[in-house]
Amino acid sequence: MGEGATALAGGTDLMVEVNFGHTRPENVVALRRVEELAQWEGGRIGAGVTWRRLERDGPRALAQAARTVGSPQIRNAGTLGGNVGTASPAGDGLPFLAAVDASIELASESGRRTLRWDDFFIGVKKTARRPDELISAIQLPEALPDRQEFAKIGVRNAMVIATVYCVVTRAEDGETRVALGSVAPTTIRARRAEELISSVASPGEEDLREFARLVSEEVTPITDHRSTEQYRRHSSGVLARRLLERCLR
């Protein structure tokens, strides 16, 4: 992509900025009909794959997230690549990518490179993508944990930016991952909580309580017009515990 060019996929983030005069792209690279970006083979999901398709065919927790995005109109247009490109702390697709340690594949005239999610997302709406690079795909690991659950907390069901997003996965051997969105500048993993619970074969009430406490301790939320720091912290623990319990069922 030429420098100074702006990528346009579904337009559901970019066009809002354009309509409100926040940005006025001079050169637009329209990706909606680029077939290669719509390709999806195994764990390699093309950047142009829409929420609609993820809702239908995605791994469980990613499909659960896709189902909650915007509205039918938004899910038909919006893509995973666009969600990754925007890199909002409230991006619905991002906790899943963090939980499974996904990589972001970038392509430019000088070749391709892949960055692990935590090297790619570097701040609020900030990524390590160079201006000449396109996001070509999202790569998931070959084997995904059987148990995976997504949920978010918001004020209503449809068309809402939530206050806490969470994905919990648990593998056969007990290895547990907890990823949370909207409670720190980027999506984060609650590593201490993961470590604690991964070593417990069948967690009891005490373990679950300690797990929730650690999650609440590890997040670093802020107070804004949607919620308070305290509420986000508390609900992070509650939500992660609830999802873990679903994984254990």
Partner: protein
């Protein structure tokens, strides 16, 4: 730039300057004011159209991105002098108050009934979650489509 695309089945060209939305191009350049402009941020659905087979908000489509595409607006859901069953159902159920949201609901509902001729009430509500009625006439709108679903199309 000149954009050529198929609009409601007919080859159409329009001139656009700058980063114009498809919605503005339809209303101001092509002269089809059926798609309504309200929020311009994908929230209200009053600008709903079908682009290459997908129901989307035309306010979030860049005009230049429809080059070579097929677009169906509310003007194209039925023939010139006939109503689509979806329109008939809304008319019969009194599902129109000020009418501003109606074109968006019509396009979204036509899209729903094409893929699912007898949706349940919750499927109807989910399919219309991206359409807002400021007159809050949802009761009659949902009833219209429940009746249509019962009848089958």
């Amino acid at each position: 730039m000149i954009v050529s695309f198929k609009l409601n089945g007919e080859e159409t060209t329009a001139r656009v300057t700058g980063p114009l939305s498809l919605l503005d191009m339809l209303r101001d350049e092509v002269g089809l004011p059926g798609s309504k402009s309200a929020c311009e941020q994908g929230e209200c659905g009053s600008c709903s159209i079908v682009l290459d087979g997908e129901l989307v908000c035309s306010c979030l489509v860049l005009a230049g991105d429809v080059e070579g595409s097929e677009v169906t607006t509310v003007e194209g859901v039925a023939g010139a002098d006939v109503l689509h069953p979806v329109q008939e159902a809304m008319h019969e159920a009194g599902a129109v108050q000020c009418g501003f949201c109606t074109p968006g609901f019509v396009v979204a509902a036509v899209d729903l009934f094409e893929s699912n001729p007898s949706p349940t009430t919750s499927e109807i509500k989910e399919a219309l979650a991206g359409n807002i009625c400021r007159c809050t006439g949802y009761g009659a709108i949902i009833r219209a489509f429940e009746q249509l679903a019962g009848r089958g199309t």
